[in-house]
């Protein structure tokens, strides 16, 4: 069953329409990639899901229609969104960033358990909890952003360009961790990427957006073999 399903979702910034009817499905327990050029509507699609931009159409998540809901309420349903540029709370400490991730939760024991679970992926955080987040490197801030999202114990993790501005070796580490989170915890992940190569290797399925519409979709293997994808996004 699909955990997340978008049906003809439209969204605008003022009078400029960014999404012209996006439909896609994310199966429970899978990693799905959203590919496309700059300005294709990838980020807007994630923002429509988490309620940061007003959307019409249908967005079904775990049985609820969440289109048009406020982000505060969407988070409470179990969707964690790591925004583009990481959304690091730079003046707060690493530990405070993590606490904010668990803000809506009341189950102290489970939060503790989720903290331990999160530290399995990011062991370096433990010794640097009291550091101000601004002093972390870009890669560390991206990892902290993912760790913060995991503290929500999300059913669905939305990742917006986790590779943005990072060195190739750091990007590889981060994608390994993303895959591990999906494999070990069964967390469903929808990841936006410009780096199609990387995304197709991590994801089972992918959708390609062009000017606010889905123009191609399929399994990662299919898309990786697709001639036009190879030309436009894989740099062949």
């Amino acid at each position: 069953m699909a955990l997340l399903e978008l049906n003809e979702v439209q969204a605008s910034y003022g009078s400029i329409r960014a999404l012209h009817g996006v439909s896609l499905k994310v199966e429970e327990g899978s990693i799905v990639a959203l590919l496309g050029a700059n300005g294709a509507g990838k980020t807007t699609t994630l923002r429509a899901i988490s309620g940061m931009v007003r959307a019409s159409g249908e967005i079904r998540f775990a049985g609820h229609d969440i289109a048009g809901r406020q982000p505060e309420d969407v988070a409470r349903l179990g969707i964690a969104h790591v925004p583009s540029g990481r959304g690091t709370m730079t003046q707060l400490t690493v530990w405070e960033n993590l606490q904010m991730g668990a803000y809506i939760r009341r189950d102290r024991d489970r939060i503790k358990a989720d903290y331990e679970r999160t530290m399995r992926y990011f062991p370096w955080i433990r010794s640097r909890k009291d550091q101000v987040a601004a002093t972390l490197s870009g890669g560390e801030q991206q990892m902290l952003a993912i760790a913060r999202a995991l503290m929500l114990n999300p059913k669905l993790l939305l990742l917006d360009e986790p590779s943005l501005g990072l060195a190739p070796i750091v990007i590889r580490d981060i994608f390994e961790i993303v895959k591990a989170i999906n494999r070990d915890d069964g967390t469903t992940i929808l990841v936006v990427e410009q780096n199609a190569n990387l995304a197709l290797r991590a994801a089972e399925r992918a959708y390609v957006l062009e000017v606010g519409r889905v123009t191609l979709s399929g399994s990662s293997a299919e898309l990786a073999g697709n001639e036009s994808i190879r030309k436009s996004y894989l740099g062949d």
């Binding site: 988490s50 940061m52 406020q70 982000p71 505060e72 988070a75 409470r76 964690a80 969104h81 925004p83 959304g87 690091t88 709370m89 003046q91 707060l92 405070e96 606490q99 904010m100 991730g101 803000y103 809506i104 101000v132 601004a134 002093t135 913060r148 929500l152």
Partner: protein, 298 residues
């Protein structure tokens, strides 16, 4: 020609520190709102004035003792701040700074006019919770009042610090003020955090009002000079820094006490001097004492 003795000087410093506690409290209220909205709340002093009138009414009309009136007034001020935010500020959330400034100016005149209408314009003497008996610290005489005022202000400021530093809601309020988008994504109701901030600022301002009223007397205008002193304190400390507001408040308190007692016609020079502080800081060090330090606090 008079002689400035060290004892006299120290006495002025000590009494300056006491009023400085009051300025620090109101400055902190300004900083709390500024951090959340990037707007100086020009009505902060008038809100404190109105709260002080409420406490005056509780004392004189209901014959309640001060130790009851104080927390009750703070609770009323808190609720009032939240309600004002919901009714007057919320419709303008996300609007330009200049819009919000105009709204706080409207609130300034509204509060002032309502206080005049309800409580009248006749100067009232506000019963002090502390005696004005002098106590001696190694030759320097300070009044119980000075020590009490400073003590109450420092306790309130300490509580605010503990709240922001060690509670979950306090952390969420800090996050919501600095990172509204990231905060919404983790489920913080940012708009309500702003209302809480208004409540808290109003409560801290009420403390300032109740502490200074016995010294200045009470009428609908009594907080206006104090607001200017608080602005000077907040700007001096760095308008975004709560700790800066406290340091700035105490500094301004001491400076004004010295200006008031050592310059000819000094009492009349206190307001212009506060303006000089504001202009000088904005010209030569716009970030104040701690303004920059908060931006990259390491």
């Amino acid at each position: 020609m008079y002689l400035v003795t060290l004892t006299d000087f120290l006495q002025q410093v000590v009494s300056g520190i006491a009023s400085g506690g009051v300025y620090a409290s109101l400055a902190l209220a300004l900083v709390l709102i500024y951090r959340a909205m990037d707007v100086a709340n020009f009505a902060q002093g008038e809100m404190a004035m109105f709260s002080t009138f409420i406490s005056y009414t509780l004392i004189t009309s209901f014959n309640l003792p001060f130790y009851v009136v104080f927390p009750v007034t703070i609770a009323i001020a808190f609720a009032g701040g939240v309600v004002i935010e919901r009714i007057m500020i919320r419709p303008f959330e996300g609007k330009s700074v200049i819009t919000l400034v105009v709204v706080t100016l409207a609130l300034f005149y509204l509060t002032n006019g309502m206080a005049g209408l309800i409580f009248g314009y006749i100067l009232k003497s506000f019963p002090s919770p502390f005696s004005s008996a002098p106590i001696s610290f190694g030759g320097i005489f300070v009044t119980v009042q000075d020590v009490g005022v400073l003590g109450v202000c420092l306790v309130i400021l300490g509580l605010v610090y503990v709240f922001f530093r060690f509670t979950k809601v306090g952390l969420a309020m800090r996050a919501a003020a600095l990172y509204p988008e990231s905060s919404r994504l983790v489920g913080v109701r940012v708009s309500w955090m702003l209302a809480l901030g208004w409540g808290l600022a109003s409560a801290v301002g009420a403390t300032a009002g109740m502490m200074i009223a016995p010294i200045t007397f009470l009428d609908p205008y009594f907080m206006q000079p104090i607001l200017l002193f608080a602005f000077a304190a907040a700007v001096l400390g760095g308008i975004e820094s709560p700790l800066g507001a406290v340091i700035g408040g105490l500094t301004v308190g001491v400076l004004l006490a010295l200006v008031g007692s050592y310059l000819p016609a000094g009492q009349n020079l206190r307001l212009p001097f506060a303006l000089v502080i504001i202009v000088a800081v904005l010209l030569f060090r716009p970030a104040g004492f701690l303004g920059q330090a908060t931006v990259r606090r390491v």
